[in-house]
Amino acid sequence: MVNLILVSHSEKLADGLKELLAEMAANVEIHNAGGLDGGKIGTDVSRIEKAFSSITDDAIILTDIGSATMNAEMALELYTGDRDIQFKDVPLVEGAFLAAVQSGQGLSVEQIVKALEAEFAK
């Protein structure tokens, strides 16, 4: 089942989102790569890399703003593992809902990316 990696500036925000998603897709593995040490606000490429090393399947990254997005892209460029990890720059909450539900239904990374693109095409 496709894992989700949430990169928010606020660890609490990502934790809250995780709770919301658990209602919709209880079995989907969700990794919180948000915030900085000590509960500080920010994003850190090494937290995203840490999430990469704990995923159990392919994964989708969702981010909030600015540096979350840049750090996600940076982490992906540095990634040398075998998993198919994809990043889509879509609204964090709505995107995560769609991705979680679809992952729960057993869809692949590729299918979820297509669904996100279709839903959030500008």
């Binding site: 920010g42 703003i65 840049m70």
Partner: protein
């Protein structure tokens, strides 16, 4: 005008000192149109860079030095400046790999690659009140006879009047006009130090 491995190292050590001196100013500017951490972030990053440079006596070439600096900044700066300033040096490394001195076209191409890399990473272009508004004129000036110090000063002053269209500052809209972009200021600090070693 020539950039050597030792020259870039000197410029980076001087930049670290300057960033430290202007840390509060950078943070204050960021407080006005951002999240108020730019000085702290840049200081943390360049303190780490300084330590790396002091720990390692010599570098084989500009590529090795740039790569280490880029990766250090990515890992330590945080915020959007980590990936952005990190990209500058990672891009230098791709162009200057195996070279211990660059001038003329080779010098220009490194800066061009870096400025393009920042634009791609931030999905931005010049004119949006970002660090690019300093990096782009500086890079273009390497192809001209204009004194680089003058180009940096002018770019920094011009950036002030722009309306922010990228990053958190963009949420301030017209209110961002007249305020200095912190990333443009920290870029000017670095580029001034590089200019000093280029002028020899």
């Amino acid at each position: 005008m020539k950039l050597t491995t030792q020259g870039l190292k000197t410029a980076l050590l001087n930049t670290a000192d300057q960033i430290e001196k202007q840390k509060d100013k950078l943070t204050d500017l960021d407080r006005e149109i951002g999240d108020g951490d730019h000085g702290i972030n840049m200081s943390r990053g360049f303190t780490a860079v300084k330590k790396e440079l002091e720990d390692k006596d010599s570098f084989a070439d500009l590529g090795e030095l740039s790569k280490l600096v880029g990766m250090t900044l990515i890992k330590t700066v945080g915020g959007a400046s980590g990936p952005l300033f990190g990209t500058v040096f990672v891009k230098f490394a791709t162009k200057w790999n195996g070279k211990s001195s660059v001038e003329g076209d080779e010098l220009y191409e490194g800066f061009k690659e870096a400025a393009d890399g920042v634009a791609a990473r931030g999905k931005s272009k010049a004119g949006q009140k970002t660090m690019l508004d300093v990096w782009e004129p500086f890079t273009n000036a390497l192809k001209s006879d204009e004194p680089l110090e003058t180009v940096i000063e002018k770019a920094l002053a011009d950036t002030k009047e722009l309306k922010a269209e990228k990053g958190r500052a963009s949420y301030f809209g017209d209110a961002s006009k007249g305020l200095q972009d912190p990333g443009a200021l920290s870029s000017s600090i670095l580029l001034r130090q590089i200019t000093e070693v280029l002028n020899g």
